[in-house]
């Protein structure tokens, strides 16, 4: 298993170092336009939020996996975990927000000791779409997690899981040795309780990130290939596949630099820029809450320590009207969400 940047004490563990790299090189030399300049051409700067639809809460950076592309730099060594007090503040916001979707992410959100309590309390409030982003292997990693498919079913949780490919080689190269087999077992467990099965209403979606320095292909075509292969090889069913580009931050940025792919990848992202995606990128309808309760435009900005440009900075002082009247913080990583068909936590956006 590789180590997190944090554990390695890498310079790239620091958000300011990442932002420095993203503004340097071809962007500093004028070879490539900054994201601000690019969206200004189509009159979309400053980028502003639309109606709030999704509250995405990162309940901690601890994870049982150390994936090579992880934008969170998550891993077993990460100790940033949301407390029950911050969760309570999130629950208070949930009671009054106009957001129809609650999206729990991490790390592995299930590793937060108060995860089940939070899910139980949030489901009492009632949200239209309650997403938990599960890395799948956590469901098989320890006996104490084996009942999670039943727990998710009980609370009508919408499970969204990462799966970079339908073959072992590509999956394990991105997510670690043995991840493919464990993920397949976990998907079977979810299918057994009804997830991904027609007529159950239990949604199981997969997230595809390319396992290297290239962009995702057509989402519908990839979904068809995933469905065919997982059904034929393992009898596994799922609902939708979301194809997301990897953003050049954190461990994926480290990979790009180490493999001498950084500049070419940035050129690829800029060349694939699609102005039609800008109006629907996720930061326009999402608010991201960090493990310690601070507010960000998206999970990527959270990792880059780019807080919301608002007088309201923390979930404890939440006022939706004031928060939604803000400019969205951007940098060159944003090209990752506007390349090709665009990317969001809900898949393509164009």
């Amino acid at each position: 298993m590789i180590q997190s940047l944090n554990r390695r004490k890498s310079d790239l563990a620091k958000a300011e170092k990442q932002l420095e790299i993203l503004s340097d090189g071809p962007f500093a030399e004028g070879e490539l336009p900054t994201f601000q300049k690019k969206i200004a051409v189509s009159g979309q700067f400053p980028l502003r939020p639309k109606k709030l639809e999704i509250l995405q809460i990162n309940v901690g950076y601890m994870c049982n996996q150390v994936c090579k592309h992880c934008h969170v730099d998550a891993g077993p060594d990460r100790k940033e975990i949301m407390t029950r007090q911050t969760m309570s503040q999130c629950l208070e916001v949930l009671k009054s927000t106009s957001a129809h979707t609650l999206d729990l992410t991490g790390g592995a959100p299930e590793m937060n000791p108060d995860f089940r309590w939070f899910v139980e309390e949030a489901s009492k409030i009632g949200v239209q779409d309650f997403i938990v982003r599960s890395n799948l292997t956590i469901l098989r990693s320890n006996k104490k997690y084996h009942d999670l498919p039943e727990f998710f079913k009980k609370h009508r949780v919408h499970v969204v899981s990462s799966m970079p490919h339908w073959t072992k080689g590509k999956t394990d190269s991105q997510r670690g040795s043995g991840v493919f087999e464990q993920s397949i077992e976990a998907l079977k467990n979810l299918n057994e309780v009804g997830y991904g099965k027609e007529g159950t209403g239990l949604k199981l979606d997969l997230v595809y990130n390319p396992s290297g320095a290239f962009l995702p292909g057509d989402q519908a075509a990839l979904e068809a290939d995933f469905k065919k292969a997982l059904r034929e090889d393992f009898g596994i069913e799922f609902n939708n596949l979301f194809a997301l580009a990897n953003l050049p931050i954190s461990r994926f940025l480290d990979y790009l630099i180490a493999s001498d792919n950084y500049e070419e990848y940035m050129y690829t992202l800029v060349e694939a820029y699609n102005p039609a995606t800008v109006a629907n990128v996720m930061c326009t309808n999402t608010l991201s809450v960090s493990w310690d309760g601070y507010l960000y435009d998206c999970d990527f900005n959270q990792m880059l320590h780019l807080p919301v440009k608002s007088s309201i900075k923390h979930i404890s002082e939440y006022q939706e009207g004031i928060l939604q009247d803000r400019d969205i913080a951007i940098s060159q990583h944003c090209y990752g969400c506007t390349a090709g068909a665009g990317s969001s936590c809900q898949g393509s956006v164009s």
Partner: protein, 111 residues
């Protein structure tokens, strides 16, 4: 003076071919794009054929383009290499099958 005949950056300039003959360039790219659309063969299958042909004609631009295209489509290394062996077998076979001509000639001339 340019030190190599091929520059990877030139692939991105392919569209500029139309600048010196817009009509034929336009026709070519329309045809090209139609060829790669989903048809009785899937776009994925066409990508693998293109990759194999790219190696047969030894075009570095095409190899670059269709390796990247294959990765985007989720095509595996195994599938790519199998496609190449098909190209290789046909190319090798094409050499070897001419041996029949050689054999015919030798058999005709030798006592």
């Amino acid at each position: 003076m340019q030190k190599t005949y091929y520059d990877p950056a030139d692939l991105k300039k392919f569209g500029k071919i139309s600048e010196w003959n817009e009509e034929l360039g336009k026709k070519f790219f329309e045809y090209y794009n139609s060829v790669f659309e989903e048809g009785e063969l899937s776009a994925r299958e066409k990508s693998l054929i293109a990759l194999a042909v790219a190696h047969t004609i030894q075009c570095p631009y095409c190899i670059d383009a269709y390796t990247g295209d294959g990765l985007q489509r989720g095509i595996t290394k195994g599938e790519m290499m199998e496609a190449l062996h098909v190209a290789c077998a046909i190319r090798g076979g094409a050499t070897l099958v001419h041996g029949v001509q050689m054999m015919n000639k030798v058999n005709k001339l030798e006592m």
